[in-house]
């Protein structure tokens, strides 16, 4: 059992991987998870997921077990082993 983070779209192309797993027995917030991801991917996720003031950037989706964190506890949403976090910029055009 691990905390699974999945990347899609440009995130996957840019980082050349489908995602990453962390052994995370105790709960961490999405903010803390982004810091962990930044260590592994050279600050990529702060740049993509957060505004300069630290709020969630428009134009990306953060799902925890299929639910948008906007409808959970936003960046304070807690995750740990067994959870799936999905990250991608959704396609808006038509």
């Amino acid at each position: 059992m691990a905390l699974e983070v999945k990347f899609y779209s440009l995130f996957r192309i840019n980082l050349k991987t489908k995602g990453i797993e962390y052994q995370q027995e105790s709960e961490i917030t999405i903010t803390e998870l982004i810091k962990k991801l930044d260590q592994d991917f050279e600050g990529y996720f702060t740049q993509k997921l957060l505004e300069k003031d630290g709020t969630i950037a428009r134009g990306t989706i953060i799902l925890v077990n299929g639910k948008n964190i906007f409808h959970l506890n936003k960046l304070e949403t807690k995750v740990s082993d067994g959870d799936i976090v999905t990250l991608f910029p959704p396609s808006a055009g038509g």
Partner: protein, 223 residues
């Protein structure tokens, strides 16, 4: 069965083919996705297609919106699209509605499904709410660069588009071009048919993510 549908006869049971030829579809937004959806739905022989848009054809539409050419610039999209489709002289009835979709839009009573042909999430949320209030299924698609996502929202579903896509609209216009738009609209039509014709598997509280750069399609569970 209509004579021109003979080559698709083996794909469906008699009941499915009959149902297919009785389907009435609402396409909201006759742009890149919408024109492609209309072309596909007419080809497979649905009964009726309602085209909804309030815009006029612009030169920047022509790289992907397959019902229009240079001669149509400045014309109402729904009129130009209906004229283009009717020239094929197939039996699907095409009804043009020059209307902006709002929460007050009166959805025709004989509709079986609403197709998302919009180009921004704000409009899509309104469309999804309209589908929910009218007890209709709604099939969403969005396309940008080489990536797309498709989501079928069933009438009884508590999980709506807003629940997944809140916070995703951006200011800049997304980059879109014809091959990727056509693939996305075709898959959208296929996914809608799987549900409407009662195939065993269809998207249910799932998101289909399409990556045309890496040739990968994956289902993201939303439950």
């Amino acid at each position: 069965m209509k004579a021109y549908l003979k080559r698709q006869q083996k794909l469906f049971s008699e009941a499915q083919q009959q149902r297919l030829e009785e389907l009435n579809i609402m396409i909201a937004g006759i742009g890149g996705l919408g024109t492609n959806q209309a072309l596909q739905l007419q080809r497979i022989g649905v009964n009726k297609i309602y085209l909804y848009d309030y815009d006029q054809v612009e030169v920047s539409n022509l790289n992907r919106q397959l019902c229009y050419g240079k001669k149509d610039i400045g014309r109402l999209k729904v009129e130009a699209a209906a004229e283009f489709l009717n020239e094929f002289d197939l039996e699907t009835e095409i009804i043009a509605r020059n209307e902006k979709i709002t929460l007050k839009t009166e959805v025709p009573e004989d509709i079986d499904i609403i197709f998302d042909g919009m180009d921004n999430f704000e409009s899509r949320f309104i469309l999804d709410q309209l589908a929910a209030e009218n007890g209709l299924p709604f099939i969403h698609a969005g396309i940008e660069e080489f990536f797309a996502q498709i989501m079928l929202v069933l009438p009884e579903s508590k999980l709506r588009l807003k629940d997944v896509f809140t916070g995703t609209d951006r200011k800049e216009l997304p980059a879109v071009f014809s091959p990727a738009v056509t693939v996305t609209a075709s898959i959208q039509v296929l996914e809608a048919l799987k549900y409407l014709l009662q195939f065993d598997e269809y998207l249910n509280e799932q998101l289909l993510h399409i990556d045309l750069l890496s040739n990968q399609m994956e289902i993201i569970d939303l439950k």
